[in-house]
């Protein structure tokens, strides 16, 4: 059945599927993992960094991009589609600010991206965007926000979520470990993001990239050293927890 209804975006199958949109979601799974966490006073975005070719400039391979001073986004899926979406969102952020004299809310820009994606699921001759995005930031009211969009054009608010390869595994980890204690302070929220990524990242801390936004502060990208420090602390805490466990059993 799929083969007759999966070539044109505007054709529904008899059982109500838009196969091109579903295939676009498979394209998202080909991108590396990205995780977003909404803390009390912080929002964290962590991504699995792709290993860069020797001659390639690392700065041009970025999964976390700022859309405005107070909003940033991580994506998973087709790189070129992400570039188009990011460029349009950045223009929209500035256009909004010039028109209304206020920065965009995180929800507004998420809705803009989701609407853009939805248009491409309903146009003849176009294919959907093959990316999912995690959009984080703080609104003027000081409340942290995390939204996720997918190729179908839907968007939802989340406390914590993951997209890309092995997203399910990371999401299950977050469901078990996202507690009030885990996000009690900023450093705990950062550690939670790194721990979630370490569940699926192939080669440890050196393949992780992390960005945070604190209330009334601009986006901060963690350096490789800072991430290594966090990973070392996490590994120490793990060892101590295991020692305690083995003491209890003996």
């Amino acid at each position: 059945m799929a083969s007759r209804y999966d070539r044109a975006i505007t054709v529904f199958s008899p059982d109500g599927h838009l196969f091109q949109v579903e295939y676009a979601q498979e394209a998202v799974k080909k991108g590396s993992t990205a995780v977003g966490i909404r803390g009390t006073d912080i929002v964290v975005l962590g991504v699995e960094k792709k290993s860069v070719a020797k001659l390639q400039d690392e700065r041009t391979v970025r999964k976390i991009c700022a859309l405005d001073d107070h909003v940033c986004m991580a994506f998973a899926g087709l790189t070129a589609d992400a570039r188009v979406v990011i460029n349009r969102s950045r223009v929209e952020c500035q256009s909004y600010k010039l028109t209304v004299e206020d920065p965009v809310t995180v929800e507004y820009i998420t809705r803009f991206i989701a609407t853009l994606k939805q248009k491409y699921t309903q146009s003849n001759g176009r294919r959907p965007f093959g990316i999912s995005a995690l959009i984080v930031g703080f609104d003027d009211d000081g409340i942290p926000r995390l939204y996720q969009t997918d190729p179908s054009g839907t968007y939802h608010a989340w406390k914590a979520n993951a997209i890309g390869r092995s997203a399910k595994t990371v999401r299950e980890f977050l469901e078990k470990n996202y507690t009030e204690d885990a996000i009690a302070n900023d450093s705990e929220a950062i550690k939670l993001a790194i721990r979630a990524l370490l569940e699926v990242v192939q080669s440890g801390g050196k393949n992780i990239e992390l960005a945070i936004i604190r209330r009334n502060q601009p986006l901060k990208m963690f350096s490789a050293k800072e991430i290594e420090l966090q990973v070392t602390e996490i590994e120490k805490e793990k060892e101590e927890a295991e020692k305690k466990k083995s003491k209890k059993t003996t």
């Binding site: 070539r7 044109a8 498979e26 394209a27 799974k29 080909k30 991108g31 590396s32 792709k50 290993s51 070719a53 391979v61 999964k63 994506f75 998973a76 899926g77 087709l78 790189t79 070129a80 992400a82 390869r165 092995s166 399910k168 595994t169 699926v200 192939q202 080669s203």
Partner: protein
Amino acid sequence: MAATFFGEVVKAPCRAGTEDQEEEEEGRRETAEDREVRRQLARKREVRLFRRQTKTSLDVSLLEKYPCSKFIIAIGNNAVAFLSSFVMNSGVWEEVGCAKLWNEWCRTTDTTHLSPAEAFCVFYHLKSSPSCSCYVAEDQQYQWLEKVFGSCARKNMQVTLLTCRHVTDYKTSESISSLHSPFLKALKTQNFKEPPCCSLLEQPNIVHDLPAAVLSYCQVWKIPAVLYLCYTDVMKLDLITVEAFKPILSSRSLKGLVKNIPQSTEILKKLMTTNEIQSNIYT
């Protein structure tokens, strides 16, 4: 000619009758040149079994020359990575043969630098206990089966197959997004009496390609064989997919072969980093 809605040009069948038929028949008649091309292609697609060190070909089938009680075949880069990290890192494995073949899907003919990502077939024999493993395999199934298994029944042998398939090939009444991939499914021959390490593959799912050929062969020749099929959403070399094969380590065929699991995980991580293929399409 006709144009479809999407702009493809489709040749409409001629309703005028027999005018074009004679021309078509002429085109279909095979010339000597066609026969020669066909012969050369068949020669190119032959499966050859030989020893890499001596470059001599094997006259008999592999299992006739190196009989064994456990034959483990890994097909696909994730299954191969699992076997090389968890099974082949324990004990001393001696390379006993290599199957060289070419088909339209092959991207390389270099046999010297093999990795789980290359489509090739290398056979190893464990010195301490007689068992074999196949590194990876591709097309030309019947020839491969003949060269490896030979045409007579193998007694006292158990075959274990490991392979991967994309989760979108898995047919189920549940929605794919609710499936917890990667997951293992098993398919066994009638003579395989051991309980498999995971649930059996349900209908209407089927097995394709070489694993299907090997299982069919084993069913016909009454050889106990089991296929462990990992459904995953990441077909390239991936740590989580490889680790999905871990339940098999408790099976009777692999229990005696696996000794050092923590070291295996380290070897697996190294394999991941050395085999990462650069692609800028997906980030």
